[in-house]
Symmetry: C2
Subunit: 76 residues, 2 copies
């Protein structure tokens, strides 16, 4: 079973990486960019019988820092 986990910073958390990308896009001449947020995408290939609870636990224990990050799981 293929999973895609999207890890994004919570609203209000400073995102220096996103800011750097934003600046770089502007310095390359791209106009009209209002905001950039950088996040992570983790693709997992897990056994078909892996439970939702187990996937959730992986996210909470390792893949996302739930103090500052949100995560979303998508089945591919």
């Amino acid at each position: 079973m293929k999973l895609r986990i999207f890890v994004t910073l919570k609203n209000g958390v400073l995102d220096p990486q996103g800011k750097a990308i934003h600046k770089a896009l502007e310095s390359l001449g791209f106009t009209g960019v209002n905001d950039v947020r950088a996040g992570k995408l983790i693709e997992l290939d897990v056994a078909d019988d892996t439970s939702d609870a187990s996937i959730d636990e992986m996210c909470r224990k390792l893949l996302a820092n739930t103090v500052i990050e949100n995560y979303r799981v998508e089945r591919a």
Copy 2:
């Protein structure tokens, strides 16, 4: 207009970050994980009149290294 850009390593390109996550999941006791690939998720908020060509150019010039990475653009 909100865009989500998914940047993933091409098949065959070594992914040490993914491997580290895989090992960490196993050492935490999660079984049944076959493969892990790490990628990037970049959320852009751009002007509504931004052309597809311009978005593509942003990806090719800055957001993805097309030698080793694929990218996919999704309109949110």
